[in-house]
Amino acid sequence: MTRVRYRAWALAAVWVVASGITAAYAFASSAADDGGAEVLGPGNVTVTLDIEHSRFEPARIVVRQHSDVTFRVVNHDPIAHEFIVGDDEVHARHEAGTHGQHGALPGEVSVAPGKTATTTFPFHTPGTVLFACHLPGHFAYGMVGDVVVRPGR
């Protein structure tokens, strides 16, 4: 009787240990994939993106599909920046283009030095969508981030 109970306790202990390690590993892996970002949405979501030293912070945002994200972009730098979010075609066009001030299209906004600007963009399809600044040399310098769109629950 005692031996049976001991085995039961031992099996339970092994199960607890295995579960704990598995859960911890899974969480750590998931957090690393998302840059430790909180999963936002679905629905209307507002995200504040700080720009300092020509970098976006945070550089990764995670949302559920069917999220309408309002980006509040705060430029702490003394130089102008822009925030462009969209597919590859959008980024290619802006990187090579000669656009003026942004603000008319969803997901495209210019941010003057020390100022804040907002723009809203819908995310309906799971995947990864880039955001970047395409002023000369800024993308190459590293002014790029992404929005990870996760399937709805």
Partner: protein, 347 residues
């Protein structure tokens, strides 16, 4: 969106320690179309009785547009004047036959308006001495037609935390034409800077360059004695370290405005060759016995160290796992005992 009026360039040098310190460097200027042109710049910094004399030369690119440079300084200049006509060339000639090199030793401000401390016109150059944080100096530069590259905010902050004094220099193309300046003509300037802790800014030389572009510079130091040097990274080598010859000192002293050169100096000549991405440091110099060069002056501030070691996945899930293992181990030890004790009591 392409932008930009004028180019603001980057760079230059400063420095040093106990009597005269020269430095030559290559710098990047941002052209009107945003392209970077490598322009060779030579600099001499001299330090004596707490006063540094800094001589550099700005080369007219002949682009027809205004281009300029920003130079971080270790202190507020009391005087800005035209430098000697051939001092820098004489220093370059002194080290022309290269000797064997050995590697040198070791290893946010408010966005208020920048304060204009001093202005001067030297030939076709407009010189402005500014005091302010990185944001303030950047704002001033933008407002005065300079184009700042994306790395400028970080680099300006990097220097402003140490010394919020900068020199902005810009060629006036129309004045250059009036003076019949040709492409490649240099204009030497000399600054007199009281300072207790000289250093040579190197990181500024990579401003606006692509990460893979090489930065090559010649740094001359003249000090009363052999200086102690501390570079904040690799890529800088000591090519010459010797007592300055009387011939050199006599020649320097005979140039215009160079009568302050004393009769006894130590000459150090350093060469910088490194990709721009690795140039995140400066050269600190100590000319005092028993006083080590400042790590902060070499660009090794504590915040940068912290920045490099932070980041990555959160550690607490692993901690939870370890804690779970601990709980299980304790249970494995104590539970069987409790079970056996309960069995004995019931039997």
């Amino acid at each position: 969106m392409r932008a930009g009026p004028i180019g603001l360039g980057a760079l230059i040098l400063v420095a040093l320690g106990a009597l005269a310190a020269p430095a030559g460097a290559c710098g990047g200027l941002v052209g009107e179309n945003g392209t970077i042109q490598l322009v060779r710049t030579t600099t001499l910094a001299a330090y004596h009785d707490g006063v540094e004399r800094y001589v550099t030369s700005f080369e007219f690119t002949g682009e027809g547009a205004e281009v300029g440079s920003i130079v971080p300084l270790p202190g507020v200049p009391t005087k800005v004047e035209r430098g000697g006509d051939w001092t820098l060339q004489r220093l370059t000639r002194e080290v022309a036959p290269p000797l064997l090199a050995s590697t040198v030793g070791a290893p946010r401000a408010a966005a208020a308006d920048a304060e204009v401390l001093l202005t001067a016109k030297i030939d076709a150059l407009d010189i402005t001495i500014l005091r302010g944080g990185g944001d303030a100096v950047g704002k001033w530069a933008i407002e005065h037609g300079f184009l700042l590259t994306p790395d400028a905010p970080e680099v300006l902050d990097f220097y402003a935390q140490r010394s919020p004094v900068f020199m902005a220099a810009r060629f006036d193309a129309s004045r250059a034409a009036e003076l019949d300046q040709q492409r490649g003509d240099g204009t030497p300037i000399m600054l007199t800077i009281p300072t207790d802790e000289p250093w040579v800014p190197l990181r500024i030389l990579g401003l606006g360059l692509d990460a893979t572009q090489d930065v090559s510079a010649d740094v001359f130091l003249l000090t009363p004695d052999r200086p102690q040097l501390l570079a904040g990274g690799s890529g800088l080598s000591l090519a010459r370290s010797e007592q300055a010859s009387q011939g050199l000192l006599d020649d320097l002293r005979s140039d215009k405005g160079m009568g302050w050169v004393p009769s006894d100096l130590w000459l150090s000549y350093l060469r910088l060759d490194t990709p721009a991405r690795d140039l995140d440091y400066d050269l600190a110099i100590s000319t005092h016995d028993g006083s080590e060069p400042s790590a902060i002056a070499a660009g090794l501030d504590a915040s940068s160290v912290v920045r490099r070691v932070t980041g990555g996945s959160p550690a607490w899930p692993v901690g939870v796992g370890v804690l779970a293992i601990g709980v299980v181990v304790v249970a494995l030890v104590t539970v069987p005992k409790l079970v056996r004790r309960a069995a004995r009591q019931t039997s």
